[in-house]
Each structure stands twice: as structure tokens, then as C-alpha cells.
């Protein structure tokens, strides 16, 4: 029987005012498992979750209430509970980004892995949760590689970076100009920084704000009066000011493009009202995208993600079943049976590849089976005499009994 339990306080069931008060780490759970059991905690801006084996649900809720200072009733109303296969399924869904606010977002997997590293360091996870978490990592990897869920960007900032990559050979060498120091422009600039852009210039009507953002992003602040000169020099422009009138006009850009000798540039205008006159997009080699154009592209990607949802769920079902199969195999008899099946498979394959006739093959197979059974006799006897979970798990890991043939042999 699957012993995993889970409590989840997430964006579906709890508002941000409640979520922001909960911050539970794996180290906090150490006290709970002093008497035995396993525990793992995950806290992100959209969720706080605790997974456990061999603990009482009430003890976990009490601990969260104490740590967050929330009333027990309030907390009980805001939690989602999962147990057994449903808890493992939920973990896989979370790791794959299928339970995220932005469907399929990849950051959550990194956060889960980081929390797992912390759990391993605190020694709070054990046989069951280690296996469940590795299953979840595998499920997330498969969902990303086998479905379209994570294929296309679904944030305006990421899409802007993607578009720039289709125009310029190497974004890292591009000169980026950020006009305005608003949130959206900052996010887009950060994405470009993540991609390795080294030349980042920031322009703002309030020079102090430009300097602050430049400091944050390791860029260079420029005076707003130099707008035209900066446009001539830059390849990627992100603009998001609070101006009521367009700050980049067609006349200005005509001159800029002449001075650039037609060299291409991309302007991402994420301001509302727009900072750039729409006619600018008709200029030769000037690619202009406003917030609506980007949102239209992003919405299409959301639709693609939704279409891949069934495929992703099927992968998760498969991984949950594999975990259940592993749980059932955690007995001495099942492990010995799997061990002999593995050896019989080896003997059969080896005999088939070496023998020249059917008679020779049968004889060789018998001979190999005899030798392998003798070889296995001692570990099998040891396992029968010491049938602890730990020994069973080591045997299964040592002989890689839970992976399929291709997994075992891919190095």
C-alpha cells in the first residue's frame, strides 16, 4: 500500500495573503521525523506543500500553523489533502508544471530540486520519498521532451527574446536598449540578461531610476535626451514608459534607420498607451511588436499547451503506475523473482547470440543458467535471512531491477 501523504496550500485553494505567511522548509520538519518517518517540504510563491511517510496529518498541520502563526481552522480550510497514489500524482503534476499558475512553466522543477537538495542535506527524506521525487523528476522531464507543453514561451518577455533570436544571429552580441524602468521592461531585460546579453543600456526620464535599474541589471544608464543616438546604436529596443504620447515617432525612426544604413532592429513596445507609433513597423528592416501582437502569439502558445494536456497526464499516469509497481515489488519474494527473471533474460540473450544451432543454444542456455543461479545463491540467501526494506532496496538498486532494459544500458 502506498504510504505517501501530502498537504498542499496552493494558488487554487488559498489567496496570496495566506500563502505569503507560510514558509516551511525541510529543516523545519526534522523534529517531526525524529521518531521515524520521512518528510519533504516545498515552498514557492504559489504553493507550500509537505509530503510525508509515516507521520500523522494533524502533526504536520500543527507544525505549519505554529510556523506561520495562522489559526488552525483557517489553515484546515485552505489545504488540499492527497494520500497514496494521488499524492504521488500530485507531486508529478507539480513537478511538470501542470498544476502551476502558468501551465507548463519550467521554473517549478528547479525549485523542487532545490528543496530536495535541502531535504537530502537535512536527512529528512528516505526510501519512499526519494523514489517518489525521482519519479516526479522523470515525469517532468518526459512531459517536457515528449509533449508540446513547454515548447513555446507563454510570457510576453520570453516571446520578445524568442523573436529577437529569429532576427539576430547571436543575441549575446546585440546591444539592448531599455526605455523606461517599469516592471514589464525590467522582466524583459532580465530575460535578455539571462540569455547572455552583455551590452544593456537603460533610458528613463528620471535619471535616478535609470541608474537604479542599471545597477540591478549590471547595465549602463543613459540620459533620456540621447534617445535618438541610442536608437541608432541599438539592435534590440524594449520600451515601457508611462508616457501618454508616443515617444518614438515615424519621423524619428526614419532618420534613425537612415543613419543605421538599413541595419535591422527589433522594437518591443510593451507600454499601454503605446510608446511607438504603429507606422514605425512599416519602415524597412524595423520589426515592431506591441503588447497586443505579443499577446496574440502567446495566446496561441497557451492553446497549444492545453492541447498537450491529455498527453502529459498519460505520461504522469504511467509514472505513477511505475511507482505503484515498485511499491508492490518491495518484498523479498518479488525481488528474488525479478532477480531470477533478469538472469534468465541475460542467459537467453547470450545463448542466442553465441550459438549456431538450436540444440547448441539450449545447451548453452542451461549451462549459463546453472552458473548464474550459483552466482545468485549467496545474495538471495542473505536477502531471505535479512528481509529488511533497506536490503531489498539496495538489492533492487544494485541490480537496477526497477528500470527497463534500455534505461539500464544507456550508461
Amino acid at each position: 500500500m502506498n504510504p505517501v501523504g501530502c498537504l498542499s496550500i496552493n494558488h487554487r485553494v488559498a489567496d496570496v495573503a495566506l500563502r505569503e505567511r507560510i514558509d516551511i522548509t525541510c529543516a523545519d520538519l526534522s523534529g517531526l521525523i525524529a521518531q521515524g518517518g520521512e518528510a519533504y517540504a516545498l515552498t514557492t510563491c504559489n504553493r507550500a506543500e509537505v509530503y510525508w511517510v509515516g507521520l500523522q496529518e494533524n502533526a504536520v498541520i500543527d507544525l505549519i500553523a505554529r510556523r506561520s502563526g495562522l489559526e488552525l481552522e483557517t489553515l484546515i480550510r485552505a489545504v488540499q489533502r492527497f494520500s497514496g497514489p494521488e499524492a504521488v500524482r500530485h507531486l508529478c503534476l507539480v513537478a511538470s508544471g501542470l498544476d502551476s499558475l502558468v501551465l507548463g512553466e519550467p521554473q517549478i522543477l528547479g525549485q523542487i530540486k532545490e528543496a530536495y537538495r535541502e531535504a537530502v542535506a537535512s536527512g529528512t527524506t528516505g526510501l519512499y520519498l526519494n523514489k517518489a521525487l525521482h519519479r516526479a523528476f522523470r515525469a517532468a522531464k518526459r512531459v517536457r521532451s515528449e509533449t508540446e507543453i513547454g515548447r513555446y514561451p507563454v510570457s510576453v518577455a520570453s516571446e520578445a527574446v524568442e523573436l529577437a533570436g529569429h532576427i539576430f544571429d547571436d543575441i549575446k552580441k546585440s546591444r539592448v536598449l531599455v526605455i523606461g524602468a517599469g516592471d514589464m521592461a525590467t522582466i524583459a531585460a532580465k530575460r535578455l540578461k539571462d540569455k547572455g546579453v552583455s551590452e544593456l543600456y537603460i533610458l528613463n526620464r528620471t535619471y535616478a531610476n535609470a541608474c537604479a535599474l542599471a545597477c540591478e541589471l549590471n547595465g549602463t544608464a543613459r540620459d533620456f535626451a540621447n534617445l535618438k543616438e541610442e536608437l541608432v546604436l541599438s539592435q534590440i529596443v524594449i520600451t515601457s514608459t508611462g508616457s501618454r504620447e508616443p515617444i518614438i515617432t515615424k519621423e524619428m525612426m526614419s532618420e534613425v534607420m537612415k543613419l543605421r544604413k538599413g541595419s535591422p532592429m527589433i522594437i518591443i513596445d510593451i507600454a499601454v498607451p503605446r510608446d511607438v507609433q504603429p507606422e514605425v513597423g512599416k519602415l524597412y528592416n524595423c520589426y515592431l511588436y506591441d503588447i497586443d501582437a505579443l499577446k496574440t502569439i502567446v495566446d496561441k502558445h497557451f492553446a497549444t499547451r492545453q492541447l498537450s494536456l491529455d498527453q502529459a497526464r498519460a505520461i504522469i499516469d504511467h509514472e505513477v503506475q511505475a511507482f505503484e509497481g515498485w511499491l508492490e515489488s518491495l518484498t523479498v519474494q518479488a525481488s528474488i523473482k525479478d532477480l531470477y527473471a533478469l538472469m534468465e533474460g541475460y542467459a537467453r540473450d547470450q545463448a542466442r547470440s553465441m550459438a549456431s544451432s538450436e540444440e547448441e543454444r539450449a545447451r548453452m542456455e542451461q549451462m549459463l543458467l546453472g552458473a548464474l543461479k550459483r552466482f545468485l545463491h549467496r545474495p538471495v540467501s542473505f536477502l531471505r535471512e535479512h528481509p529488511s526494506l533497506e536490503h531489498i532496496d539496495y538489492t533492487r538498486r544494485f541490480f537496477q531491477l526497477d528500470e527497463d532494459y534500455t534505461d539500464r544500458h544507456k550508461g
Binding site: R151, Y152, E162, L163, G165, H166, I167, F168, D169, K258, R260, K261, G262, S263, P264, Y284, N285, Y287, Y289, A293, T296, I297, K300, H301
Partner: protein
Amino acid sequence: MTAVVVLYSLTGLVFILDVFMRAPRLALAGRGLLAASALAHLGVIMLLGLKMRALPLTSLPQALNMMILCATLIFIPLTLGRKTTTLGAFYSPAAAFILALISPQAGLSRDVIPPTQLWYPLHTMAVIIGEAMFIVATVASLAYLIHEHLIRKGLIHAMGEDLPPLTILDKVLMHSMSTGFVAITLGMLFGGFWAAASGIALGDIAVKIFAGAMTWAVFALGIHQRYAVGWMGRRTALITVCGFGITVLAVALFWGMYPYPPVPGMAP
């Protein structure tokens, strides 16, 4: 020759599948097949040359055959680049199509007299390299126009995911145009020396001069507009595609009238 056409067709199919399925193995197979096509093509041309005991450049189909081989040799390193692999999907089907059209006439020519003038092979090879560069420039231009359209319409993820970035395509276009321009210019000069040394009247090779001048003019216009006026990208690509279209039309129109090395005492 049929085997070569089949190989090129297969290469084109694999590269096109790669564009839609984005499987690294398909790209690898496409590159391998393109190399195999080039080897087989080279083998066929060498066999023909051995049979003729001369450079197999005695007719327009043979020249086109050689031109395709040259273009393939230029495309092999291009398809090795991660960002330019998809150019193979544009080039290989076109190469297969042209080879299928000319293969019945690209074989052994009757009444072949190997040219005695050194200027002739120099002229022909220079022109062939120039025309092969013209093919490369046209393929890069087509890819540029398609990719730019997809970027402007916001359809990059639907179809243009693996198309090379515009600046790379522009670089390929300009490098091939610059090299092609030098080659064609040299080709025209060598051709003039050959005609003068062989005592050929200009009127007899008017068609040849027209086709060469056409390509030269397209290259010259493209390069001038690119460097002097700043027509980076789309406009240069359009000039190249239109120029290529007109050249193909001219070649098709004057197919039977295209002169090749003259038999002594006869008009070319």
C-alpha cells in the same frame, strides 16, 4: 545519373521532414545524404569526362550539371551549421528537379572537339562557380523572404522555428553575391579572351553574352544597393530572386541557341 537524381530527391525529402519534425537524427541523415549525393554526382561527372577525354562542359545541360555539383559542394558546409541546416530543404529538391530535367541531355555529346584554348576551361569554370553562387544566393534569399514574412506575421513557431536567423541569411546572401560577382566578372573576361583568340564574332555568342551580363548585372545591382544604399535583407533578396527568375527564363528561351566550343571551320 538516375541514381544521383534519386539521392538528391531523398536528401530533399529528409531535410523537409526535419523542418517539420525537428529531429536531430533527420538533420544528420540529411547531411549524410547530401554528401553521398555530391560523391555520386562527382563520380558520374568524372566518368563522363573519362569517356569524353575532356572536361564535360560541351553543352548547356553539361554546364548546368557541373553548376549543380558546385552548388552542392558549397551547401555541404552550410548544412553542417546548426542554424543553417534547413537551407538543405530549399536546395536539395531544386537540385533534384534541375538534374531530372537535364539528365537526358547531359550525357556524351556527339561531334565533341576538345577545346584547345586554355581560356575556354578557365572561362567556363569561373562562370560555373559564379552561377553556383547565384543559386546559393537565391536559396538564401528565398529563405530570408519566407522567414521575414513569418516573423512579421508572428508565425515563427508554426513553421519558421528552425529557419536561420535573418542576419545569418543576409551574410550568406552577401558572401555568395560578392564571390559570385568576382567569379562572373573573371568568367566574362576569360570568355572575351577565348572569343578573341578563337576568332569568334561577338554576334555568334550574343546569347551567351546576354546570359552572363544578366547575372553580372543582378550581382552588381545587389552589391551596390546593399553597400552603398543600405538595402540590407529583403530588398537585396528580392533583387536576387527576380534576377534568378529572369536568368532561368532566358536560359529556357534560348535553350537551343546557346553556343559551346566551336568545331574548327564552323560557327559556334
